[in-house]
C-alpha cells in the first residue's frame, strides 16, 4: 500500500468562496499538508503560483474576472517562465459533459465535481501523485495526455500521426521556475 507524505507537498487553493476555502484547508491539513496557500481569484492565484511554485493546484471554475479555466490556461503555457507541468485539480459545481471536456482541453489534470468529499479529494490527489500522465504538445494543446487509456479496439482515423521520433532536449522550464524564486 502507498501512503502520501502530505507534509512534503505544497498546495495552492483558488476559490472565491471563503467557506469552500476553509473546507479545503481543513481537509488538506487533516491529510497532513502543512503548506496550503490560498487565493480568492485567478489573478492572485497566478501570482502565488509563480511565487510559491506549488506542487498541486486546486481551483474552482466559476470566479469573477479571471476564472479557474483561465488560470489553467495561463499555467499551461509551455514557453512561460513558470512550471507548466503542475497537476491542476478542478473542483467545481459544473457537472455537465461539455464542461468536463472544456476543462480537459484547457489542460486540467483531474476534475472533481462538488459537493466535495474527503474521499474524492484524496483520490484525485493520489492519482496525480502516483499516476502522472505524459504531457502532449500540439499546435492547439499543451497539457497532460487526454487519453487515459489505450483503446486497442479503436477503428477511427488516427489523429496523432508520425512514427519515428527523436529525443529532444526540453528547455529547463522547471529549473527556470524554481530558480526564479
Amino acid at each position: 500500500m502507498f501512503r502520501i507524505d502530505f507534509n512534503k507537498l505544497r498546495f495552492l487553493v483558488c476559490d472565491d468562496n471563503p467557506h469552500m476555502r476553509r473546507i479545503l484547508r481543513t481537509l488538506l491539513h487533516s491529510f497532513g499538508a502543512r503548506e496550503v496557500y490560498e487565493a480568492e481569484d485567478g489573478a492572485t492565484a497566478l501570482e502565488m503560483y509563480s511565487h510559491y511554485v506549488p506542487d498541486i493546484v486546486i481551483t474552482d471554475w466559476a470566479m469573477p474576472i479571471f476564472d479557474g479555466l483561465e488560470l489553467a490556461q495561463m499555467i499551461r503555457q509551455p514557453e512561460s517562465k513558470g512550471n507548466p507541468y503542475a497537476p491542476i485539480i478542478m473542483l467545481t459545481g459544473h457537472s455537465e459533459k461539455r464542461r468536463v471536456t472544456i476543462a480537459r482541453d484547457a489542460g486540467v489534470t483531474e476534475f472533481l465535481a462538488k459537493p466535495i468529499s474527503a474521499k474524492g479529494l484524496y483520490q484525485r490527489i493520489l492519482n496525480v501523485v502516483a499516476n502522472p500522465r505524459p504531457f502532449i504538445k500540439t499546435k492547439t494543446y499543451f497539457g497532460p495526455d487526454r487519453r487515459r487509456n489505450i483503446n486497442s479496439a479503436y477503428m477511427g482515423p488516427e489523429r496523432r500521426v508520425g512514427e519515428k521520433h527523436e529525443v529532444l532536449q526540453q528547455p529547463s522550464l522547471l529549473d527556470k521556475a524554481r530558480s526564479s524564486i
Binding site: 500500500m1 502507498f2 501512503r3 502520501i4 507524505d5 502530505f6 512534503k8 507537498l9 505544497r10 472565491d16 468562496n17 467557506h19 469552500m20 481543513t26 481537509l27 491539513h29 487533516s30 491529510f31 506542487d55 498541486i56 466559476a62 470566479m63 469573477p64 507541468y85 459545481g93 459544473h94 457537472s95 459533459k97 461539455r98 468536463v100 476534475f111 465535481a113 462538488k114 459537493p115 466535495i116 468529499s117 484524496y122 496525480v128 501523485v129 505524459p134 502532449i136 504538445k137 500540439t138 495526455d145 489523429r159 496523432r160 500521426v161 508520425g162 521520433h165 527523436e166 529525443v167 529532444l168 532536449q169 526540453q170 528547455p171 529547463s172 522550464l173 522547471l174 529549473d175 524554481r178
Partner: protein, 192 residues
Amino acid sequence: MAKNSAKDIEVKAFATHHVITQPNPLRKVLRRVEAKDMDDPVGRAEQALAGLSGEFTDWMASEVDRLSAAWAAIQQDGFDDDRRGELFRAAHDIKGDAATFGFPSAAVIAESLCRVIEHAPDLAKVPAELFSHHINAITAIVHENTKLDSLTVSSELSRRLRKVADEYLAHVNRDRPEHLEAILAPSIVPGE
C-alpha cells in the same frame, strides 16, 4: 519538494505532436507501507469536516443572503453582465456547497436556477416568478429548515421547480439545438 532537471525531461517529437515525459517529480512523497502501518487520512479528514459542521447553517444562511441580494439588485436595476454573473455565481456556489452543508434539496434547486440563467436566450424575458420561486424555495429550505422538517416536502419542491424550469428551457430553446442538447444531457462527472 522533488524537482526534475532539464536533462530528466524527455521530448519525443512526432509529426503532429510532442510527447513530453519526465520522472515523476512527486515520487518522493509516496511511501510503500504495510497495511498495518497505514493510517486513515480520509477518515481523519471526514472527522475534521464534521467538526466544522456546527458552522454550516450560518454559512448556508450567508450564501442565501448573497443570492437574495443578487436577485434584489436585478429586480431594481435589471440584468447586465455583472449582475447576471453575481446571480449565477451565488446560485452556483449553493449548488456546489449546499449538500456539504446539509441542504441537498437547496443544491438541486440552485442547479435548476443555474440552468435557467445559463440557457435562457434572453434573461429579461424570463418570467420573474421563475427566479423568485427558486430563490424563495432555497430561502425557505435554509431558514425554515426545522419547520420544513420533512425531507419529502423539500424534495418534492425541488423536483417540481426543476420540472417547470426544464419545460420552460426546452420551449425557449426549441430552435437552439446546442442548448437543447446541453439541457437534456445527463451529468457524467464522476462524484468520487
